[in-house]
């Protein structure tokens, strides 16, 4: 039995932290940090307690509690929680990885004057993210979905005096908004056709039972619209453009929001509402294709990137593509498994990058880093572990979860399988490139007074914690916990061997090119035109900025002009002008000359006389 208060405490303690910070501790950085950490730790502990209760019961528990939020005769929208193994697993990721990142942030943000604001925003984000995980209906989920978008906006543009950071925040928010336009339409459409016995409903459990009554074609449209939301939040092609720019935010934000949790919310949404998609083979096929295209495209972009955080961002995109592909191939289990392990090692990599950036005084270009493995041993070794896990090297966690996805693909769609496997090679190549350039080579000779030190313990402890998780993630029964009733997964030896060999080839190739640390990028010559194409990110950004600045703004200007010319000048001023002209004309008649009046009088009389005579 789960204590019914636990999900609510887990839900609201970060919000409480956020409010307390905003109201009382804005001037004290350390107490703000403490409050935020307390908030997320409370959530984590509650989640652990729930996990133990759920894991020890057979069959797996699922329970929900809700209360009305909006209620009158014609409409009820509830506010509630739906707790099941899937939600608990996601919650463990959010609060567990979250706790590590919150603690790390205390060190990373120690010198920032607005650290209190940072922790308030971070807590707000945690609250919103937990809201997505626990929501038991679509409207509530959408509410927190939007709040996550807002907190992401606030955190990306945290250093808002910087033009690029402010722009990146706006971009992230707008791309997500645009995607949510589809998502919200989908929610409304689903609601309008839902018939759950007592009218319409937004609740997942109600909808899951009655989904069969909906016309398949209409359900297909709903599925695609809901997937729009996923494309935005999980940054799939063609709406992936915001994520690399989002790296303008402080690094812990990139780790928490743009690697481990928020961007994974889309995957979670698909898994949570998989009952909609289960029967929609065409829609699932589209989803799988979007996923694999994202995986491949992002991996190619990561190869030519020089900014350490952006490389990781493209890698995140690519891995999210894997997860979306898994869902599209009908494997929510595989997708969620990879989501979990990815959260461990990607958060680790980002925090490692943050540690490097911290040590190098905000240097992010990998070509300006050298021999970090020796100078920052803990960061270096944990970063290596993260890299290997991401590349899917046996026996680290990434190996197991990626293998599940590849086995699934080999089973369902051979083309997708091969693309995904080759993408694994690219993954190993760009991660290898990053590692050899920044960490491997000999340390540069230091200028006096600029010595590079390992980060403080408050930052390295979370690294070690996440590194441990990245190592053991494949052995702690995550798949079983996620879907207790599903049969045990078995290792597909052929798939595992193929992907391992390709990953090692990727690492080896990058070693050959980069281990001796060429002074400039050798790929530039070798790839030629392709290099230019990649450097320009396939021209997506150019296309969008053309759309926003020329097309959309042009259309808006056209309307503005229409308003000025037709409504104001011709319409309003036209009427007033006509009135004035008539008035002016009539005024002329009033000349004040007696002769004029007399002649008018005579003319009128003559006119009347003729008229009368005619009639006679």
């Amino acid at each position: 039995m789960v204590n019914p208060l636990l999900p609510w405490i887990a839900f609201f303690s970060p919000l409480a932290a956020c409010l307390l910070i905003t109201l009382f501790t804005l001037r004290s950085k350390s107490s703000s940090a403490l409050l935020a950490i307390l908030g997320i730790l409370t959530s984590f502990i509650c989640t652990l307690l729930m996990a133990i209760a759920i894991f020890s019961s057979h069959p797996a528990l699922e329970f929900q509690q809700s209360m009305p939020w909006i209620q009158f005769d014609a409409l009820t929208i509830n506010f509630g929680v739906l707790v099941n193994p899937l939600a608990i697993m996601m919650l463990l990721v959010v609060t567990g990885v979250g706790s590590a990142i919150f603690i790390y942030s205390k060190g990373y943000m120690a010198d920032d004057t607005s650290a209190s604001r940072f922790f308030a925003f971070l807590s707000l984000f945690a609250f919103s993210m937990i809201g997505i995980v626990l929501s038991n209906n679509f409207i509530q989920l959408f509410i927190f979905w939007e709040l996550v978008g807002v907190s992401s906006y606030l955190l990306i543009s945290f250093w808002y005096e910087k033009k690029s950071a402010a722009d990146a925040g706006v971009k992230a928010f707008m791309v997500n908004r645009f995607a949510d336009f589809g998502f919200l339409s989908g929610i409304l459409l689903l609601w309008s056709v839902s018939d759950v016995g007592h009218g319409r409903s937004f609740a997942f459990t109600d909808l899951a039972q009655s989904i069969g009554h909906i016309d398949p074609a209409l359900l297909g449209v709903i599925g695609l619209l809901v997937f729009c939301g996923v494309v935005g939040k999980s940054a799939q092609v063609p709406l992936h453009v915001w994520l690399p720019d989002a790296m303008e935010g402080p690094t812990p934000v990139s780790a928490l929001i743009h690697a481990a949790t928020m961007v994974a919310a889309g995957i979670y949404l698909l898994a949570r509402t998989f009952f909609i998609f289960e029967s929609l083979t065409d829609v699932l096929y589209i989803i799988a294709c979007v996923g694999v295209v994202t995986a491949l495209m992002a991996a190619t972009l990561a190869i030519v990137e020089d900014d350490i955080k952006r490389i990781l961002a493209y890698s995140t995109l690519s891995q999210l593509g894997y997860m979306v592909m898994a869902l599209g191939l009908g494997g929510p289990l595989q997708g969620m498994y990879h989501l979990t392990t990815h959260a461990f090692f990607k958060a680790l990599l980002f925090l490692g990058a943050g540690s490097v950036i911290y040590a190098l005084h905000h240097e992010q270009n990998i070509w300006k880093m050298q021999g970090l493995l020796k100078k920052l041993p803990i960061t270096g070794i944990t970063f290596l572990i993260g890299t290997l896990a991401l590349c899917g090297i046996f026996p680290l966690s990434g190996f197991w979860s990626k293998d599940e996805i590849l086995s699934l693909a080999a089973d369902r769609n051979v083309v997708l399988y091969w693309i995904a496997t080759l993408t694994g090679g690219l993954t190993a190549f760009y991660m290898g490139r990053l590692f050899w350039i920044a960490f491997w080579s000999k340390p540069a000779i230091e200028k006096h007074g600029h010595e590079t030190h390992e980060s403080p313990a408050v930052m390295t402890m979370p690294l070690v914690f996440l590194a441990i998780l990245s190592v053991i993630g494949g052995f702690i029964g995550i798949p079983h916990f996620l879907y207790p009733e599903s049969e045990h997964l078995t290792l597909n030896i052929t798939v595992a061997l193929t992907s391992s060999i390709i990953a090692l080839l990727g690492l080896g190739l990058s070693y050959m090119i980069y281990s001796r640390r060429p002074s400039r990028e050798p790929l530039e010559k070798k790839l030629g035109v392709i290099y230019t194409l990649l450097k320009n990110k396939y021209y997506f950004d150019a296309l969008y900025s053309w759309y926003v600045n020329s097309l959309q703004q042009g259309f808006a200007k056209l309307l503005s002009w229409f308003e000025k010319i037709f409504i104001v000048n011709l319409g309003v001023h036209g009427i007033t002008h006509t009135a004035k002209t008539i008035g002016n004309t009539l005024r002329r008649l009033q000349t004040g000359l007696v002769q004029f009046y007399a002649s008018i009088f005579v003319l009128g009389a003559v006119f009347l006389f003729i008229a009368l005579v005619r009639n006679l």
Partner: protein, 492 residues
């Protein structure tokens, strides 16, 4: 606690305040300000009291005061509140009190300024509280006329044009509506302007549909002009832009809602058959409002013009909600009237603050104000997010209800209306980005954030209201629902 005749008291306090300001020498500006503030604080508190003690389970009109006045024409001093106007009276209270606090930057002809301001507020309160159609119309005009002077005298650069345009438009609308109301008066054959009696009578003796069909558009378009119905919206952006801060707040936030209120009370509720004929056209125009004005807002560089077009765009949701002719839509509309009212009041108050500090409203001349005006910056960001329909603020709740209400009848329009929310986000984030984020514009004069609790009070009050109704919608939804239920039954 029981207060006798609370509604009359609400009207009495500002009237007393106005009269006493007459007798204060104009040099004594601090006394004038104090009198005006008190004369608006007391009715604000009373409106809170009325709202909280309104019994929404019993429903109907409460706190009724009815004194016959011109008996032969059936004109009476008839006040009363139901779930709808008890909430809107609260909006007037909130808007007028904060507008008064935001008038501190007015420095010349203070005496006249506050007299006109109080007169406008009296008219607005009276129109919302009155259950007599004659008095409604009369007080609505009382509220409109001083606005002409307030803009014309205390406005900014193009105040003459703006004041004239706004007043001519509103008067034209009001005259159209007047024809409609007189026709309505004749059509009932009751010889009374009393709304309650007319409502009772029409339940069993509805106006013939042919008659309804030509009265309805007169009233709807007439009051629709107040509500910036496209293409009669062009008075609003320029009017709000040139008006002094308090008037922009009061007009965009509160006075405008009189239009929607009148359409609910007189058009939809009394002529339901015609409503079903005409409202689909209104729904179409509503979408034009949302998208057209939203896109035009994208091209503006002047802060107040952006807010003005934004306000026109948001009125589209109110119009769309009215066109739903069902409970969800109506509840959404009344909720949105309150939420948008508070948000618009807040946004114009903040803009006024920024303009007073920087002497410019042009976004290109602002930039990076967040560091210098942290409090105002935070409030502005929250107002912008509320306007963009972010959950947690009242606007989201009401927009969702309007969309849900509209979906069945106007599926395509609803989707376009959702697109409108995206457009709002674009220009609102642009305002934040260009005004408050980015590097500080070096040419800006030195600016001072709101320091004292009194200076922060209006912003805090308005934000608190937005957040409370956004997080706990039932606080006002119970009232709204009790008010719209009888109307929804009539239009079924």
């Amino acid at each position: 606690m029981m207060i006798p005749c609370p509604l009359s008291l609400i009207l009495l306090f500002p009237t007393l305040g106005m009269i006493s300001i007459f007798f204060v020498p104009s040099k004594n500006s601090s006394l004038i300000r104090r009198i005006a503030t008190t004369a608006l604080l007391l009715p604000f508190l009373l409106s809170i009291w009325v709202f909280t003690s309104y019994n929404h389970i019993a429903g109907g009109f409460q706190f009724v005061e009815n004194i016959p006045w011109v008996v032969p024409f059936g004109i009476s001093y008839h006040l009363g509140v139901d779930g709808i106007n008890s909430l809107l009276a609260l909006l007037v209270g909130l808007g007028s009190f904060t507008a008064c606090l935001a008038s501190a930057s007015i420095k010349d002809r203070i005496k006249e300024y506050y007299i006109f301001l109080l007169l406008t507020v009296i008219g607005t309160y009276g129109a919302f509280l009155s259950l007599d159609i004659f008095f409604f119309y009369f007080l609505h005009e009382i509220a409109t006329v001083p606005v002409f002077l307030l803009i014309g005298i205390w406005g900014s650069k193009y105040r003459d044009y703006a004041a004239m345009k706004l007043t001519l438009y509103l008067t034209a609308g009001a005259s159209l509506a007047l024809i409609g109301l007189i026709a309505l008066y004749n059509a009932t054959g009751l010889q009374t302007f009393d709304l309650v009696q007319i409502q009772q009578h029409l339940i069993n003796h509805p106006i013939p549909v042919a008659v309804q069909n030509w009265i309805f558009p007169l009233i709807t378009v007439g009051f629709g002009i107040t509500l910036t119905l496209w293409p009669f919206h062009t008075w609003a952006p320029v009017g709000y832009a040139e008006a002094p801060t308090a008037i922009s707040m009061l007009h965009a936030g509160v006075l405008k809602k009189l239009g929607a209120y009148a359409i609910i009370r007189f058009a939809i509720s009394l002529m339901p058959e015609a409503a079903h004929t005409w409202m689909p056209i209104v729904a179409g125009l509503a979408v034009v409002n949302i998208l057209f004005c939203g896109l035009v807002a994208l091209t503006q560089r002047d802060l107040k013009y952006i807010l003005g077009y934004s306000s026109c765009s948001h009125m589209g949701y109110i119009l769309l909600g009215l066109a739903c002719l069902n409970v969800i839509g109506l509840n959404g509309v009344v909720f949105l009237m309150f939420a948008h009212g508070v948000m618009a009041t807040l946004a114009f108050a903040l803009t006024g603050f920024v303009t007073d500090q920087t002497n410019t409203r042009n976004l290109d001349e602002l930039g990076g104000l967040g560091k210098r005006l942290p409090f105002i910056g935070v409030c502005f960001s929250m107002a912008a997010l509320a306007s963009a329909g972010v959950p947690g603020f009242g606007n989201f709740v009401s927009e969702i209800m309007v969309l849900l209400g509209a979906w069945d009848q106007y599926c395509l329009y609803t989707v376009l209306a959702i697109l409108g929310i995206v457009i709002t986000a674009i220009y609102m984030l642009k305002v934040i980005r260009l005004g408050f984020h980015g590097p500080l514009n070096p040419r800006l004069p030195s600016v001072l954030d709101a320091q004292t609790p009194l200076a922060k009070l209006p912003f805090v009050l308005l934000l608190a209201a937005l957040i409370i109704v956004g997080c706990f919608p039932t606080t006002i939804l119970k009232h709204i629902d009790s008010g719209t239920k009888p109307i929804a039954e009539r239009i079924r």
